[in-house]
Symmetry: C2
Subunit: 434 residues, 2 copies
């Protein structure tokens, strides 16, 4: 089976067979296909698409390029959650300990922030001493002790995804539902989970701007998961304004601890509880979704979630005292506030602009090799519909470098309009897809 | 200007600016773009297309990647003809000496056969001693002495075309009107010609199967030529059956000498004379097309064309005695004839199948590295509309390897149907495009 014949088939808009897809993935992870043949195929996939069956096969081949973990000898069913990425989206750190406290296993491998959205690994690494790189025996040990573990993908997980991603980044072939879906799902399936809840973000601050696009991505992810033995469901959730109040790595860890203490913003808590309940139900640790929700709320109210979080931090080398003394988390010393120029009702901060401004200040990265400043970020003080007086603080920036401030302020200019009448405020959870 | 941004623009279907196209071509001929970025761009161009202005700019950048020859100090205007490729298409060897005899200069650089169509260089190399690789001073010397020269492109002509073609061949990005047009025209423009007549083949044996597609290609080529200072016109000519009677390198040289002697098949002569007349008119060596036709016919009838051909062969190291004694040309010893199974009227041989059968026997190559057998080929004895009796010879194969014969015969099975009524026979020259 020659590369050029497979390329010609996809170029002309035909569906590839499982054997052709397997040849492509094997070729991309060896020197059997040249990088220029792989990138030509990626561009053909971007422009010609792949149907559900092809995307499921692509994912399967990417999983099989490496190791698929197996937790079937352990008590509890392994499940996970994945988000397509947003600003202030910190639910993983809340729902994983809550779900673990309810009796499911959560072997979570996460990513880093890129572009305007944050990444779980960057948030965790703001905890002094925390290690995200564990090998499989260490991972298993934490999972056994705590019921959940939060790490970066091991080298043996879906190596084909790394090989393809490296090329996609420099050949303008990132933006493709089949390629994005296969990349996400290959790493999740390789985790050895049996159930997965996808949090597909939708709105001006998300990769998917419209409900239709978000639903299409959700359906693609669900099709792939189910075809590969992972029962997959999805929630579409709103991402027009930042989630919660905190944006930036250490600030978001702080907000997670607050929520696990029974404090913190409603939106973060409600979405985290709902996603955790889905995981508990998918993992068979509750007979119904209502029962799962009750269990999760109990884990939250009783402090079991917070206790699991503390044990996970300690098991992965982090300083567990941060849970009781959040001043031990890194902080950026400088502050700048943005105030309301007139009275009225806040329309809410545009998530993407807040994300880009905090990235510019050092909370995230524009290139993979950039270093993140853990204490940098923003505290969002005006939520959609909040009444404000002239001079009220709408946003507080935490930053280090004065040089970067003007660029951030320029990005935030006009990013939270004040209206005379309260805006219509929609729900966070838009719909379920299964 | 980053490669990934230019890639994204073409991927999303936008027209590239001259600076972006120049960056792509410069990138492809240096290590400024990686081969995987170049191939991703080629696939994006195949699937998104390029408009006339972009294609003209692409061609210009490819010309400027190397040397553009200049004959303006010589007497006579430099013109050329190019064919998009067919089976038995041998007009170059006839029209170039005829046009030169009428006072224009023909600095022709040609290609080799690939796939089912033949190539001028392979035909010329069947002449014992003939050299197609001349440097520019040698080329100039032959052009001064004989008025025309027939060689392979020098290394300094459009190196970007070679770099791109190498990638296109292995990434399924050959079939694209903008890329094909730019590849053809960059080499022709670099020849330093002022006028070009394109013979765009149309029909089942051509790359362009329909009149519409052929016309679109012709218009693309004309637009590029005119935008780059080369007055370009096109004829669309039929390519459903092989042109003339001979298919295969030495056999075709023989037929060309026959035509230059005033013998040979009408179709080869008529198309060659018309194309040569267009060249003479484009080069300003006649005041009208009618005058140009009269001059070309005189050059043919007077034997001046044949004499020019003999001098060119000698000047390029070939044995000029072949012109008088065609037995000095290589020949394949084995013969196999295909006969009519019933009486009736021949529909004509399908050009593509005859081409593929002779390639299989060794007359052409399926891969660039294949070696050609100069004497191998076919003599087509049934033209469309010819009345035939049962047992009449329809085709004679000249071959060397018995092993390859069954495959060739299988390809030719049913490739010349015999009908009860004579078929409608259309003209060779379908239309002019300018």
């Amino acid at each position: 089976m020659r590369a050029v014949d497979i390329l010609r088939k996809k170029r002309d808009g035909h569906a590839l067979s499982p054997a052709e897809i397997a040849a492509f993935v094997a070729g991309a992870t060896s020197d059997f296909w040249t990088p220029y043949q792989v990138s030509a195929m990626l561009m053909a996939i971007v422009l010609r698409g792949m149907d559900t069956a092809e995307t499921a096969e692509l994912t399967r081949a990417m999983v099989e390029s490496g190791e698929r973990l197996d937790w079937s000898d352990m008590a509890g069913v392994a499940v996970d959650k994945h988000s397509t990425g947003g600003v202030g989206d910190k639910t993983s750190l809340i729902l994983a300990p809550l779900a673990a406290a309810c009796g499911v296993l959560v072997p979570m491998m996460s990513g880093r922030g890129l572009g305007h959205s944050g990444g779980t690994l960057d948030k965790l690494e703001s905890i002094p001493g925390f290690r995200v790189r564990l090998d499989v025996p260490e991972m298993r040990s934490v999972l056994e002790k705590v019921g959940f573990v939060m790490i970066s993908p091991t080298d043996r997980v879906a190596p084909a995804d790394r090989a393809l991603y490296h090329l996609r980044d420099v050949t303008a072939t990132v933006e493709s539902i089949p390629l994005i879906s296969a990349s996400i799902m290959s790493k999740k399936i390789a985790e050895g989970i049996r159930g997965l809840i996808m949090d597909v973000k939708c709105g001006s601050g998300a990769f998917m701007k419209t409900r239709e696009d978000a639903r299409a991505l959700a359906k693609s992810l669900i099709g792939i998961g189910n075809a590969n033995g992972v029962k997959t469901e999805a929630l579409l959730t709103a991402m027009d304004v930042p989630m919660g109040r905190m944006v930036g790595n250490a600030l978001e860890v702080k907000e997670c601890i607050e929520v696990l203490r029974g404090e913190g913003p409603d939106d973060v808590r409600d979405v985290s509880v709902e996603l955790a309940a889905k995981m508990v139900r998918l993992g068979g640790a509750a007979g119904s979704l209502d029962e799962a929700r009750r269990k999760v709320r109990h884990a939250l109210a009783s402090g079991q979630g917070l206790e699991r979080f503390r044990r996970m931090v300690e098991a992965q080398g982090g300083d567990p005292r941060i849970v009781d003394n959040m001043d031990l988390l890194p902080a950026a010393r400088q502050r700048m506030v943005i105030r309301a120029a007139r009275p009225g009702y806040a329309r809410g901060w545009e998530a993407e602009r807040v994300g880009r401004a905090t990235v510019l200040l050092g909370a995230g990265r524009n290139r993979v090799e950039d270093k993140v400043q853990p204490g940098v970020g923003a505290v969002v003080l005006a939520r959609p519909g909040d009444p404000v007086r002239e001079g009220d603080v709408l946003l507080e920036l935490h930053y280090r470098d004065d040089d970067r401030l003007p660029g951030a302020l320029a990005l935030l200019e006009g990013a939270c309009p004040i209206d005379d009448a309260p805006p219509a405020v929609g729900p966070m959870i838009l719909e379920e897809v299964s």
